[in-house]
């Protein structure tokens, strides 16, 4: 269940970050409201994951890194920002790093 909470926290946080991107492009206050709501909900789910016994370094590391990778892909799709080979390699490194954190913390 803690992993479901963490997954929800990641997805909601990416949505909040994309709203922040829209707001910074001058699309108005509606997007800032989405940003605030998204981040509040994301931190609530992160808190639930910690409450379920997940270590802070594990939860935060996976949350932040997955957020960076997903945001890079989403800004490519939504805003047409570039996604180069170096960025693709970075996303791969993040995935392997998250796996190491998960395996190293667990057992």
């Amino acid at each position: 269940m803690t992993w479901a909470y963490l997954g929800a926290a990641i997805l909601i946080e990416v949505a909040g970050t994309l709203c922040l991107g829209m707001a910074s492009r001058g699309r108005g206050k509606r997007w800032l409201a989405g940003t605030v709501t998204g981040y509040l909900a994301a931190f609530t789910f992160l808190s639930l994951a910690l409450n379920g016994g997940m270590a802070l370094g594990v939860a935060y590391g996976i949350w932040a890194a997955a957020g960076v990778a997903l945001t890079a892909v989403a800004t490519r799709v939504l805003f047409g920002e570039p996604l180069t080979k170096v960025m693709g390699a970075g996303i791969g490194l993040i995935a392997v790093g998250v796996l190491c954190i998960e395996l190293g913390a667990g057992h």
């Binding site: 970050t17 922040l20 991107g21 707001a23 910074s24 940003t35 605030v36 981040y39 931190f43 992160l46 808190s47 910690l50 409450n51 270590a55 802070l56 370094g57 594990v58 935060y60 590391g61 932040a64 890194a65 957020g67 960076v68 990778a69 945001t71 890079a72 800004t75 920002e81 570039p82 996604l83 180069t84 080979k85 170096v86 960025m87 390699a89 970075g90 996303i91 791969g92 490194l93 993040i94 995935a95 392997v96 790093g97 998250v98 796996l99 190491c100 954190i101 998960e102 395996l103 190293g104 913390a105």
Partner: protein, 128 residues
């Protein structure tokens, strides 16, 4: 220079808030620090974007620094596990985040690849 100072402030506020999130499990009074830290961090991050730092760059550095600081400080304050494999994982994550961020920065500063026809496609289109 100003945008980097703002970004550092956003990182410190955010790490403080994240550690408070863990502390609030035992002492609910920490939720005050959680709220102040995250609202402050988000506000400063918006200022960073307004100061001209791209979303991917700001977010990448914010994320990489936050992961490292949070893992180390959580081990110090709360006795959370920090094993060798986890240390390698955190280093990989930081490297990956920096690759995403630096790749985005260099791609943005280069001219768009599709705006001008490449010499090769021009040759193919020319009559022989």
């Amino acid at each position: 220079m100003r945008k980097w100072l703002l970004l550092s402030t956003a990182i410190l506020l955010e790490v403080t808030a994240t550690l408070s999130l863990r502390g609030a499990l035992d002492h609910p009074a920490f939720y005050v620090l959680v709220a102040l830290g995250y609202v402050g961090s988000l506000t400063v991050l918006a200022l960073v974007l307004r100061a001209g730092l791209a979303l991917g760059v700001a977010y990448g550095i914010w994320g990489a620094s936050g992961v490292a600081l949070t893992a180390i400080l959580a081990a110090l304050f709360f006795g959370d596990p920090l094993t060798g494999v986890m240390g390698i994982g955190i280093a990989l994550v930081i490297g990956g985040v920096l690759c995403v961020e630096l790749g985005a920065q260099s791609a943005r500063s280069a001219p768009p690849a599709q705006s001008a026809p490449s010499p090769r496609s021009r040759d193919e289109g020319a009559p022989s």
